[in-house]
Symmetry: C2
Subunit: 284 residues, 2 copies
Amino acid sequence: MSAGSIRIGVVAPGGRIEPALAEKLTALAQARFKDRVALFFHPQCFLASGHFAGDDAARAEAFLEIANDANFDALWFARGGYGSARLAARVLKGLNDAAQQKTYLGYSDAGSMLAALYTRGFKNLAHGPMAADITRDGGEQAVTRALSYLVDRAPGTLEPSVSPDHPSAAFNIMILSHLIGTPLQPNLTGHVLMLEEVGEYMYRVDRSLQHIVSNADVRKAAGIRLGRWDPIPPNDPDFGQSEEDVIKHWCAVSGIPYLGRADIGHDIHNKIVPFGRFRPRVAA
Amino acid sequence: MSAGSIRIGVVAPGGRIEPALAEKLTALAQARFKDRVALFFHPQCFLASGHFAGDDAARAEAFLEIANDANFDALWFARGGYGSARLAARVLKGLNDAAQQKTYLGYSDAGSMLAALYTRGFKNLAHGPMAADITRDGGEQAVTRALSYLVDRAPGTLEPSVSPDHPSAAFNIMILSHLIGTPLQPNLTGHVLMLEEVGEYMYRVDRSLQHIVSNADVRKAAGIRLGRWDPIPPNDPDFGQSEEDVIKHWCAVSGIPYLGRADIGHDIHNKIVPFGRFRPRVAA
């Protein structure tokens, strides 16, 4: 690890990953970024406790160890699954000043933790690929995009509508729905809100979208962009409306402008969406 | 229809039912209750529009026709599925005084509408079997229980912990989760809250329970009772905690007393839970 390298700690607040994944990703990072990046996988990533990568205490402790260590520049979520929300209250109680300075990158289940950190005023949170995306077909491009963002804040990694003119945020629809009305609901006033989903029936996404836009504070968003929802399992009977019909309907009902598509989703093309306004890397 | 009969209008705010179901239920009601009950199935019950029993306008109009007609004593939900929440705002705008006097009975998806009516101070709302429960194996006992409640307020139909000493409410977990933080979130202060679920993965129910109990107003409930969650699809990997482990965990985290089991669920044993306090039938 050179003195000038970006040091990234990987933790798994949801499901576990295999050691082989960590080895493959470390090799990719070395090949592409040489000594400009140093990856550290917290051993917690490989624990197993039922559904989770270790019990709540182990996952929260690992998260705090990376977040609170000033030697790390970034905390990268290993993968999604489910589990981030269970840790949020415990993590919020344990964060120190070093945690405020760090960059956090993840999506899907990680959105619960990103939302929690956003309520605390953290400035360097972003929705984007996670370590486990390397296992997708062509996944090298997803994790390379993530590393390019973490190392260089490369503008080409950003979702194309991200602009210094307005704050943005991005969420998985189910995850945001489960934050509504809780202390961890993010303040989206004036934000362009990008929403993605994966593998959910249309009736469920419709139900969760109604939920999200029925909240008075969410209605203060500047607009909504629709990420990818693929794959959508067949509804029986057919739902009768496309995903764009559905999002336009709920935007119209709630008075939130519909702004078109967003280049995010559970796939290798998933672009980076910083929470708030994009902040270029400042030379130390 | 005799002058003294209880007149029940059936509407389908979610999915549709078949005319044969209505015929079977009418025959059962006549055999068991003679001229003490008159069932009317609104033709909207048999419409089809994609996922729904007619489009939002048709379903809302049918609901209001029954709710606002003083000739009906009760509005009985035909079945669940999904669709009640989509009508709630439209229905709330159109209710008249006659609607306030009526009894409303349903569960599952119907919970969205019951919650909406509860926010308006409606006094005769109840969680219990719907018309379509007749199609379950042994379903005659479920619909007979519903009719006994609607016709006689028979105390034997009630969930055993229902008491005049405290208000109660009952919800499907997913439905209540989707009401949190919206204008339709019911005021559960001092209530015993009974929760049931069907066919959801443990991780999803865990996620929704955390959501529900994280809301500050829900924490004013007097306690939570656990209805049935059957069937629970196998989690991969095994979730590692039973449903009672999970509900006890979230009750402990949120400080809401856990009060034990409730005799409600998506099955033929589903007992009646009045919203608020049980009000016996008062002779006219």
